[in-house]
Amino acid sequence: MDIALAKKRIEGFQDTPGALLPMLHALQEEFGYVDEAAVPLLAEALNLSRAEVHGVISFYHDFRHHAPGRHVLKICRAEACQSMGCNRLIEHVEKKLSVKMGETTADGNFTLEPVYCLGNCALSPALLLDGQPYGKVTAGVADALIENAQRQSGRQA
């Protein structure tokens, strides 16, 4: 983590009341996760103990402790999506990527994360790929999305 950059992102919210969550979101947006090294910076900026900052980070599911893969795939596993077979979809994707929910592929291409409802429950099963929403996702659609993302990162590499 670039400390100077982290400090700059934190300072952006210095005057915001109840600033810890906006700061954490800013750090995660910048680096993809919240680095351990950010904890003392946050504690100092907000006049909190490190333990308090830790407590907040660990409370919320959103904040990652490690850098994610190049692509983040969040698949909904809540009830409406269950009724349309999301559990089978998740199994399929886990197999295709050889990871379990919450893990990153060995090549660093994908992080697979669970999410509980994306508000797209009339078009279940639903997922978010790098923030882009997809609905009525079949195994075939998921394969195509994954392969497309793979090709993209192949070009970038």
Partner: protein
Amino acid sequence: MKIYVPCDSSAVSVGADAVARAISQHAITKQRPDVTVSRNGSRGMFWLEPLVEVETPKGRVAYGPVTPDAVPALLEAGMLDGKAHPLCQGLTEEIPFLKQQERLTFARCGITDPLSLADYIGNGGFRGLERARSMTSDAVIEEVVTSGLRGRGGAGFPTGIKWRTVAKAQADQKYIVCNADEGDSGTYADRMIMEGDPFVLIEGMIIAGRAVGATLGYIYCRSEYPHAFRTLQRAIEIGREDNYLGSAAGFDLHVRLGAGAYICGEETSLLESLEGKRGQIRPKPPLPAIEGLFGKPTVVNNVISLASVPIILDKGGAHYRDFGMGRSRGTLTIQLAGNIKQGGLVEKAFGLTLRQAIYDFGGGTASGRPLRAVQVGGPLGAYFPESLLDTPLDYEAFAEKKGMLGHGGIVVFDDTVDLAQQARFAMEFCAVESCGKCTPCRVGSTRGVEVIDRIIANRDREKNLQVLDDLCELMLDGSLCALGGLTPYPVMSAVKHFPEDFHARN
């Protein structure tokens, strides 16, 4: 020539952006500079998304679901003149799903460009605020009391009464907090308003601020809704530019992002989170109305509650109250979800039965298989069997059947569902999302998962069903908030109404 393609994230999830691009591209190649593509909110008929509408002398004509590949053929067939095509649904307003609704809160959603103030004002926007400005703050509150509006976030507490308490409280600062955490599976009404008509929410919050004497508002939007968050940010900027918001206007507004914790939908946990803390439940009393955000008197209301305020002020409380049944007044925004043929938003006076909602509007299951179970009211709502489908959508009628209307989400399951697995999920969800403050919830839910696993594996089944029953009793009585306190609802309703999935399974 205006063509409408929704920018709603659900429409985008099935290709609305690509469709909009395809239409623009075609207009350029065919040299039709008169064609402009406008991005509206969604009408809430999601099985038809992307739903493209064209303006004709008779009204808007709808085509859907449109894929980018279908665009050239549609244009060849004369879509720009509203001509026939297999995807043509006729006049939008005449589509039975929409025609049979009573849209008050959603009156504009899907019709306007969400970020156009001109569209907003041209379609009745800010009339409620204008009237509120001509009234005393007490009179505004009484109008909301008269409307009978009850909180749409789930608990159903009368909104006007809550406002009265905050208005009476003496403090140097008061707040309006909008609960946009919409964590319940099967619900998306808040999201649709935030993405499709954000100014109606803003107007509702400005009115609330005037009524109770609050000068600052926060919208706590869940992080799973990145589109809604961006739309709100933009709408607030526009509101400031036009002096509806800001220090000169006497009311300012900020939008904050949640961080993936279901419990932060509970109002006191939400306030903790807004203050930058762990989202743990605060004991009540004190009520947030007395000691809320940063210890100050605070109105916490759901998105739909606040977005219903402008029309109540515009048309009068009595007009709104005249819809509905019993103590459930006005309209309910029903959200049809899951295994349903015609999934979408139905705004209708309280009192429609579950069966009417699912069959008359929803058209039955998407799979075509028999319906077996329905979960209403999110992850803490009961599972109902077919025999309870004649229950009217009304707070009290649902409570009588040991169910909960909640935020109005209806999730349909066909006959492939396994209710033991659903009960297990309810317990697992509670374990994952528990704030950890009290033992019955934190420990009970983890125990619950283990016990259900034993039942499924047929280990001491009858004994473990008794253990599960006792455990639910304990959670129900001993939990500090409704997460632990209501998780027994989906679990016990599954056992009660679908015993064959527990007792007799192999």
